[in-house]
Amino acid sequence: MDQTRRQFLNSASAVTAAAGLSVSSPFIGRSYAQDKKTVVLASMGPVTGNWDPTSHTTLGQLSFESFIFSHLTRSPMQEGKADEILPDLATSWKLIDPNTLEFVLRKGVKFHDGKEFDAEDVKATMQYASQPSRPAAAWYPGPVDVEIVDPHTVRLHTEKYGYPASAYWFVASFLPMMSAKDVADPKTLEKRPNGTGPFKYIETNGDKNIIRANDDYYGGRPKIDEVVYAYVPDSNTRVLGLLNGQYQIIERLEPEQYQSLAKNQNVVVHRGLSTENKYLHFRCNKKPFDDVRIRQAACHAIDRQQILALIGDAAQASNCYVSPMKWGFIDIPGYPDFNPELSQKLLADAGFPGGKGLPQLEYITSIGFYAKTKEYGELITAMLGEQGFDVKLSVLEPAAWEQAIYRRADGQGPGHMCDVGWITGSPEPDLVLRPNWYSKAALICGVNDPEIDAVLDKERNASTPEERLKILQTETFPTIAKKVPSFSLFSAVNFHGMAKNLKGVYFFPNGPIDLAKAELT
């Protein structure tokens, strides 16, 4: 049969097109079962590639792990009830003596791989995770010895390490419990998370992590069948995804987005005080902020009411070094207030009347990570300028800012002031106080003050929580406020958006979201 070239080309194209349609393509997405209740959570924080909870201190993975791992206790951290602790994997706990804390464990709990949870898992977890070489050892007050009294009773012994066992009173609600079998096999521990939580890990697909309801969860099988934890770094994209129904929960809204979504009939917004305070850290190990008078002068030059007015819903006033959601919070008497005259007097006493003779000070802040840091950075710069401080504001994108704020191996850091927020889990205040102001750490400000060290050690070594609370509120916080190695500007607020038909969600103030009792109506 004669065929022209044109006819041949046409028929070849048709055959190729038909073949192409019949071959499965990476572009054809899977359809989801209509009857499966799936919640897609758009997170701004990524996860790491290492599923060992002790291998990191990142917010995104901490939030994700809270679905999978349980803790000995649970701290809801509700406003006004920061000291409330509820049973979780432990049903009761008591201080036997100042260096011994006993936990009685819940029976009938299983890990996601089927192994029964018991005392050996607590021992393996805590003795492993508290080793100083583990990156997340910072969550632990120090190394700890765990005694197995019986299969469902453990005692934490801290005498050998020089700190009281009560240091675990609150932080036990933040330490994820791992299987002893996994701890003994680091490669398995890293490859997949295996906890006792309401959801179990299924897989990671690019920037999406998929978990499914744990049928054997001791608190009752969640009504949500599946959670997709998606890393979505852009806040506008998260909001739009909520509006078009692709996401059911989004986190880290900007204040303006919160206000817009609050008017939308199809979504629900949540506003809650977080465990984060925003600080203006002074580099205390270099001039001129090695002089406490200069630091105090700077604090008295700053009108925090103006900053709060600028930030609006995203901040709450507080006069303390920890958030009101942390145990021990108190509005510190004598906390530095806006007082230009006192600022001038302090500058003159320090030998810099009107700020004359002070070097130019670099103030490092970020953009795109917290709300309005550039804006209130400019405001603070102007306020300091009014008192004679010559300040240069450096606004950095998050990766550059993160490199700049922490002290290097030589103990120094760039600039003279840094704007940083600090958010940690559990009501335990030492997770904020010691990394920031204890001289052996002082990760940012580099303060080395024996008085501050002494009051931090005193509160940590208190033998009972009542005694510790008294020392914190009457000695520790006032001392730090007097020395001002850093200036706490305000307590930060978290904003979340949710689909209207999602009920029963609990938002922890440090970031994790509890969907164990949630449902899609």
Binding site: G49, W51, S55, H56, T58, V232, T237, N244
Partner: protein, 329 residues
């Protein structure tokens, strides 16, 4: 044939020099600008001594020429390195790790990451070019054929409006109108080819004005050439003159436009559009890598983009010499 061989040998050797120079520039800039990948990897609470030890283990404290030489050798063997951040088992980004997490076999090969994301970007880019041609060709042709009448003015004003629309804003507006408000199209991420439509429309809006102007100018210029009048005098109809001769001659500068300018615009726009739509292509991979200072991914994507541009440039120039042999050199 001899010309083709000579052409490709000459241009490919020039291209290799360009790619190496671009690679050196990107490599050096990454290590000089602020932002420490080790800090991002290890998280905020890690001791400085641990960070230094990790950086040394990753070779980040060696002199830059030494690091670059090592990298070039690796690339010459087809190995684009392993991500600092993404693990071999598929974890996303960021965070601190334990001792052997930095071992090569635990970190995702960059080649695999690129291979898994390129098909999505190709789909998006292809759809974007298709949509822009659908918009630009009829408008550009009408404008070029009627250069003193209203179609030309409409094309001019439309191009000016479209080129003024920032793609970041347009993407957000499209998602809001066509997805959130009306539910006509899906928008975020990827769960099927329909997810590429909205981002492709944003790309098309960006590409179309350039195409409209180029088509209209090229067609209008060719209509003024002597051969058009001579052809018609010789008995060729206006329709045949335009479709068989004017369009062919007008296509040479368009080839250059499509090959180089459009690909260049696409490469830049893809990053932004994929980020806004959370579309899992190479653009989103690159932007996340920049945020997290994932040097191996940034380097590899930059080298790939440069190589693609150089190759397209070579192919376009060669095609032009085949259309008009006067362009051979």
């Amino acid at each position: 044939m001899i010309f083709a061989l000579d052409f490709f040998l000459r241009r490919l050797s020039q291209g290799i020099v360009i790619v190496v120079l671009v690679a050196l520039l990107i490599f050096t800039l990454l290590r000089v600008v602020p932002g420490d990948p080790v800090r991002i990897m290890l998280g905020p609470m890690t001791a400085p001594s641990v960070m230094e030890a990790t950086a040394k283990k990753l070779g980040l404290r060696d002199p830059i020429p030494v690091q670059f030489g090592r990298y070039l050798l690796q690339v010459a063997h087809g190995d684009l390195g392993h991500s600092f951040i993404r693990s071999a088992q598929g974890g996303s980004t960021g965070g601190s790790r334990g001792g052997n997490t930095f071992d090569t076999e635990n970190r995702a090969p960059v080649v695999e990451l690129i291979r898994s994301t390129v098909p999505y970007s190709l789909l998006l880019a292809g759809l974007g070019v298709l949509f822009s041609l659908i918009i630009a060709v009829p408008i550009g042709l009408a404008a070029g054929l009627n250069s003193s009448r209203w179609p030309y003015r409409v094309a001019l004003y439309l191009s000016a409006v479209l080129v003024s629309l920032p793609n970041v804003w347009l993407g957000v507006v499209f998602i809001l109108i066509f997805s959130a408000r009306t539910g006509w199209l899906p928008a975020i991420g990827y769960q099927g080819p329909s997810y590429a439509i909205l981002p492709a429309l944003v790309l098309a809006v960006e590409l179309a004005p350039v195409m409209i102007r180029a088509i209209s100018v090229s067609v209008a210029a060719n209509l003024l050439e002597n051969y058009v009048a001579v052809g018609q005098v010789r008995g060729l109809s206006r329709y045949r003159m335009i479709t068989w001769h004017v369009l062919r001659n007008a296509s040479i500068p368009l080839l250059n436009l499509l090959g180089v300018q459009i690909v260049g615009i696409l490469l830049g726009s893809l990053f932004v559009v994929e980020y806004i739509f959370n579309y899992p292509g190479i653009g989103l991979l690159m932007i996340n890598a920049v945020f997290q200072r994932d040097f191996p991914i940034i380097q590899a994507v930059a080298i790939l983009a440069c190589t693609v541009l150089v190759c397209i440039n070579i192919l376009v120039d060669f095609a032009a010499t085949n259309i008009d042999r006067r362009l051979q050199y």
